[in-house]
Structures are given as structure tokens and as C-alpha cells.
């Protein structure tokens, strides 16, 4: 065996490895093209959604004459509440708006109250049939409600629940519940289980741990889910037409009168319908991304 040590010569120069200025510039250019195209794409998607909303908003606050004229204005100048006034004072609209709000609030309360325990169970417990129940919940979303139209109407008439605000709220609860449950479940899944265990170690029963620790941490998410439920009910039109006649909700009423009304009515109605969704987006955007900083992922 040789006792010679192999010479260590790590400082050999490798000129080919040195980046040239041209290389650097090319890399920079490629980087900025990639970034730029992402921005362009994001802007296009945003415009796709924002332009119609902007148009509806502009028209809703222009005078009825401006609404009928071409070319359309790009901003509500001169601004006017005349179009909105006309819409809101149309026969049946205010009553329909009231119905819509009542139905949506009842739906929100029922749906959220049912979704909290259901979502918690799905998020936390491995009970037999959990996956089947999850799938069942999802399949309700996929179920074409049109198939149920006639039997539903007949059943509601039979039970003397037809054309009632509360019965539509029950129907909306059934329709929104799957979505609400899944959203609430994902909110609960985001609350670390260790926090609950810590609460139990330090003197809580499981119920109290839920009340003191899990619920406060999940509250922003649950609020977002509740608002989502409100919007779902607010926008729902099929069941509303199916199950009511005189107690129409707003979308049902607008749809019913749509072909008989002019452009100002349509734009104003569209804008009015949009408001809850816009409020919802502003709420949810704050909560869904970053709840309590870094602690909850």
C-alpha cells in the first residue's frame, strides 16, 4: 500500500464555468418574459370578469336615456339614480327583495348550524362510512334538481307548503348544505388538532375545547362559509320559480318580468343582484388566505 497522499488541488481554474455578461442578460430577459406573461394572463382573466361588472355598474347609475343610447358610456357620467329608482319602484320588486333577504337569512342560519357539527365530524373523526358520506354530500351537488321538479312541487302542495317563504328557505338549505358542509369541514381541518388536545390537557371537556379553542379559530372561515351560503340562496332561481307563485324571490321576479322590461330595468336589476356577491368577495378574500398569520396553515 502506498503511503503517498493524493495531491489536493481544488483551485484549478475553469474558465468555461464563468458566466459571461451575455449569459446573464439572456437569463434576465427570459425571467422577465416569464413574469410578464404571467401578469398579462392575470390581467386578461381579471378583465374577463370585471368588464361586464363595470358595464352593469355604469349603466345602473346612468340616466335611462343614456342606457338606451349607443355608444355606451364608459363611466356613469352624468351619474343618476333614476335607473335604480325606476327598478326599485317597479311593482313587486321591493317585496321580492324582502323575500329574498328573508329566505337567504333563514338558509344561512339553518345551513351553517347544520354544517358546523357535520363539517367538524368529517374533518376530525374517522367514523365508519365517512368517505361514503362525503361522496354522498358531493353527489347532492351533482344531482340535477330538474328531475325532482314535478315530485317536489307536488309534495310541497300536498303538505301545504307551497308558495311559502319558509318552505323555499328549507329547499335552499337542502341545496346549499353540501357546499357549506364541505367548506366548513375544510375550515375545521385547518385548525391544528394539537390545539384541541392542549385544551383538553388543561382542563376542557371535548365540548368545551371545541367551544373555547376550535370555534373561535374557525370563526372567520365559518363566517365566510355563511356568507357564501347567503349568496348561493340569493342567486338561486330554479327552486324559487318552482316553489313560489306570489312570494317570488328577487331573481325569480326579475326573470319572470325580464322579457317585458327594457334595458334600464335589466341593468339596474343585474347590479342589485350583484351587490351581495361583491360584499362576499371582499369579506372572504381577507379570511381565506391568511387566518391568524403563520400559525394556521
Amino acid at each position: 500500500m502506498t503511503t503517498l497522499e493524493t495531491p489536493m488541488n481544488s483551485t484549478t481554474t475553469r474558465p468555461s464555468m464563468e458566466a459571461t455578461a451575455a449569459d446573464r442578460n439572456r437569463a434576465k430577459r427570459r425571467h422577465s418574459i416569464r413574469r410578464g406573461s404571467i401578469y398579462v394572463l392575470a390581467c386578461l382573466i381579471a378583465l374577463w370578469i370585471l368588464v361586464p361588472i363595470w358595464l352593469i355598474g355604469t349603466m345602473a347609475f346612468s340616466t335611462p336615456e343614456d342606457v338606451r343610447n349607443y355608444p355606451k358610456h364608459f363611466a356613469p357620467i352624468p351619474a343618476s339614480t333614476e335607473t335604480m329608482d325606476f327598478f326599485l319602484n317597479t311593482d313587486g320588486i321591493q317585496r321580492a327583495a324582502r323575500n329574498s333577504i328573508v329566505v337567504a337569512i333563514i338558509t344561512l342560519i339553518l345551513s351553517t348550524l347544520l354544517a358546523i357539527p357535520a363539517g367538524y365530524a368529517i374533518a376530525r373523526y374517522l367514523f365508519p362510512g365517512r368517505d361514503a358520506i362525503r361522496l354522498g354530500i358531493l353527489s347532492v351537488r351533482a344531482f340535477p334538481i330538474v328531475v325532482l321538479a314535478v315530485p317536489l312541487a307536488i309534495t310541497f302542495i300536498k303538505w301545504d307548503m307551497y308558495d311559502k317563504v319558509y318552505s323555499l328557505a328549507l329547499m335552499h338549505t337542502a341545496l346549499t348544505l353540501p357546499t357549506t358542509i364541505l367548506v366548513v369541514a375544510s375550515v375545521f381541518a385547518g385548525v391544528p388538532y394539537e390545539l384541541e388536545e392542549a385544551a383538553r390537557i388543561f382542563g376542557c371537556t371535548p365540548a368545551k375545547a371545541f367551544w373555547k379553542v376550535v370555534l373561535p379559530l374557525a370563526m372567520p372561515g365559518i363566517a365566510a362559509a355563511a356568507i357564501l351560503t347567503f349568496v348561493l340562496s340569493w342567486n338561486e332561481v330554479f327552486a324559487a320559480i318552482l316553489l313560489t307563485l306570489t312570494n317570488r324571490t328577487l331573481p325569480a321576479q326579475i326573470l319572470y318580468t325580464l322579457d317585458k322590461s327594457g334595458d334600464p330595468f335589466k341593468f339596474a336589476g343585474g347590479f342589485f343582484m350583484l351587490i351581495p356577491s361583491l360584499i362576499f368577495i371582499f369579506f372572504i378574500r381577507r379570511y381565506l388566505f391568511n387566518m391568524y398569520g403563520q400559525l394556521n396553515k
Partner: protein, 370 residues
């Protein structure tokens, strides 16, 4: 009095047995460390004691009270979690006060204990902050303060330092040790870090595959490992295991490593006789061998393969036939790779092990361990 007794504990997850008939007795006010590689069941055992995961069989007693079926809140315990598990929606003060408030302690008591706990952990000026605005080390302090504020008789800690960076861990280790020495709690501390275990515990329970392999004080666990696993899991570098042949020579037992003879101490004659003609493991720690630059009659000549200067010691890698040996030497001992050195094996420092079972071969007095 809060002695913790675990009897014949079994916990299964499906077919996997996480805790396999474990018996463990922790004396009142003792600091016991559960040490083992990940998946060895140490955390599962701790959680069973905490009441966070019910045992399939066996029972848990805390202070002569059978708590096997009691919920955590009725066990008079507190716990520090690996990921701190402090409540992000409460200020530091309310986090520390949580356990006391749940126990409906009077307001003055809560105030006093929270202040005390915060002072002990040097976070008294952060009481009205939210945990989100704190560093990992500070959150860890909140978690410990919350656990000690309730002054329970049993304190359970699940890898409390594993999420801290190396330097902070070193600092917190000493601080925790001195803090826990002042508390009157019986403590069970789970870790996979053998240095943490050696440096903190009164006794260490080394676990592997759901069983406790050795339960002893740190010195004995280090010097007299009950089996090959304990020897190689504890210590850095791990204990060396050389193959040796047991032979009788004029009535005295010898263990041969190649042509080299080791003479086991007299009390080993009896137990080693059973292995006559068979091969065993000679276990010895890196720092227990003497390295000589010149030949000696009782030293084995070996070729150095690698020399690693580690500052406080030089670590030599040596090959003896098929076995790799790590030997630590004084940094002043000058040696280079591919040179020959002479190694002396002090027989008293050798742990003899059965090659098939990996268990230590011990004189009969000591048989309880094996």
C-alpha cells in the same frame, strides 16, 4: 406524591403494535426520558399517560389512582407539545392562564401564578402579545410557562425542543433542566435526541419497536448498554462492535480478534464460557480505547483509514478485517491516514454481546438487565 406506573400497556394502530406490553414505573419527582428512534412508540406511550389516546390493554396509574379510563382533564397533568400548541387567538397571558381558568382558580391565584411562570421563562414583558408575533423560541417558552403555571404533579413533554434551531436548543436544554429541577413535578420527557436524554434525565428508557430495551440512569445506559441497539443508538460516534472468537486457553477465557487476544475480566469468565468456540461482539466506545504511536505487547497494530479532526478530538476510522472501528484520540496525537497505530482495549471498558440476540453478556448478578 405522583408516582406514575404503567402496567402491561399495549396500543395497536390496526395491525401495527405501537406499544408492546410496556411496564414502566416513574418515581415521584423523577425526571424520566423516553428515548428512541421515530416510530418506536415513545410518543404513543406518553399520549397514553396523558389520556390523549386510550390503551388497548394494560393500565396507567398516577399517584396510586387508576387513570386508565379518565379523560386528560381529570388526571392532574400538564403537557408541553412538540409544535407548542399555544392558542393563536389568545394573548400570551391568557394562554398561560388557560389551565388555571379552566380549573376556576381565584383571580389572585391566576394572576400570581401567571406572573411567576412568565418570570421563570423570561417572558414577563410579552404577556399582552399574540403568539403570532413571536419567534419559535418565545412560543416554546409560552408553552412551557402554560404547562408549569397549573402546578400539576405530573409534567409530560413531547419533544419540546425539536422545533428549535441547534443553538437555541442547546441554550433551552440547560435552562429547562435547571427549571425542572426546581419544580416538584414528576416529569416524563420524550425525545429522539440521545444527547438531550443523557444530559437531562435522571433515568432513560430506551425504546425500540414498542418495547423498552433498557431503563437506567444515563451513565449506565451509556457505559453498560443492555444490547447492541442501545449501544449504537446512544453516543456519537456509536459504540463499536468487533467480531471476536471465544476460546479457552489453559482454563482462562480469551476472546480473539484475528491473532490478537483479549483477556476478559475475571467475572466474565463464567458467562463467556457458554460461548466457547463461538463468535461474539466486542463492544467498545470510541473514547475508551488507548491509541499508541509505538508498539506495545497488549496493543493491536492497525492501519488508519481516515483522520477527522473535530477540534476537541481526532476521530480515526480504522478497519479490522471486516469491521469498521471509530477511535477518538487527543487532538495532539499526530497521525495521518494510512499510518499504523497501536490500540489498547481496556477489558473493563468492553461490553460483550451475544451476536445472535444482540443482548449483552453479563455476570449473573447483573442478569436482570439482560
Amino acid at each position: 406524591m405522583a408516582e406514575i406506573v404503567v402496567e402491561k400497556a399495549i396500543k395497536r394502530f390496526g395491525k401495527f403494535v405501537a406499544v408492546d406490553e410496556v411496564d414502566l414505573t416513574v418515581n415521584d419527582r423523577e425526571f424520566v426520558v423516553l428515548l428512541g428512534p421515530s416510530g418506536c412508540g415513545k410518543t404513543t406511550l406518553l399520549r397514553a399517560i396523558a389520556g390523549l389516546g386510550m390503551l388497548d390493554e394494560g393500565r396507567v396509574m398516577i399517584g396510586n389512582r387508576d387513570v386508565t379510563y379518565l379523560p386528560p382533564k381529570d388526571r392532574n397533568i400538564s403537557m408541553v407539545f412538540q409544535n407548542y400548541a399555544i392558542f393563536p387567538h389568545m394573548k400570551v397571558y391568557d394562554n398561560i392562564a388557560f389551565g388555571l381558568k379552566m380549573r376556576k382558580s381565584p383571580k389572585e391565584v391566576v394572576e400570581e401564578r401567571v406572573q411567576n411562570a412568565a418570570k421563570l421563562l423570561h417572558i414577563e414583558n410579552m404577556l399582552d402579545r399574540y403568539p403570532g408575533a413571536m419567534s419559535g423560541g418565545q412560543r416554546q417558552r409560552v408553552a412551557v410557562a402554560r404547562a408549569i403555571a397549573v402546578e400539576s404533579e405530573v409534567l409530560l413533554m413531547d419533544e419540546p425542543l425539536s422545533n428549535l434551531d441547534a443553538l437555541l436548543r442547546l441554550e433551552m436544554r440547560a435552562e429547562l433542566k435547571s427549571l425542572l429541577a426546581r419544580l416538584k413535578a414528576t416529569t416524563i420527557y420524550v425525545t429522539h435526541d440521545q444527547i438531550e436524554a443523557l444530559s437531562m434525565g435522571d433515568r432513560i428508557a430506551v425504546m425500540k419497536q414498542g418495547q423498552i430495551l433498557q431503563f437506567d440512569n444515563p451513565t449506565r445506559v451509556y457505559d453498560l448498554p443492555a444490547n447492541q441497539f442501545v449501544g449504537s443508538f446512544i453516543g456519537n460516534p456509536p459504540m463499536n462492535f468487533l467480531r471476536g472468537q471465544v476460546q479457552r486457553d489453559d482454563g482462562a477465557i480469551k476472546v480473539n480478534i484475528g491473532d490478537f487476544h483479549l483477556s476478559p475480566p475475571a467475572e466474565m469468565n463464567e458467562p463467556l464460557r457458554a460461548y466457547e468456540g463461538k463468535s461474539i461482539f466486542v463492544g467498545i466506545r470510541a473514547e475508551n480505547m488507548e491509541t499508541l504511536a509505538s508498539p506495545a505487547p497488549d496493543a493491536l497494530a492497525v492501519m488508519v483509514e481516515v483522520v477527522e479532526p473535530l477540534g476537541s478530538q481526532n476521530l480515526l476510522t480504522i478497519r479490522i478485517s471486516e469491521d469498521i472501528l471509530k477511535v477518538s484520540t487527543h487532538p495532539d496525537f499526530k497521525v495521518h491516514a494510512h499510518e499504523t497505530v497501536y490500540i489498547r482495549f481496556p477489558p473493563a471498558k468492553i461490553r460483550w454481546m451475544d451476536r445472535d440476540t444482540g443482548q449483552a453478556i453479563a455476570p449473573s448478578l447483573d442478569k436482570v438487565l439482560a
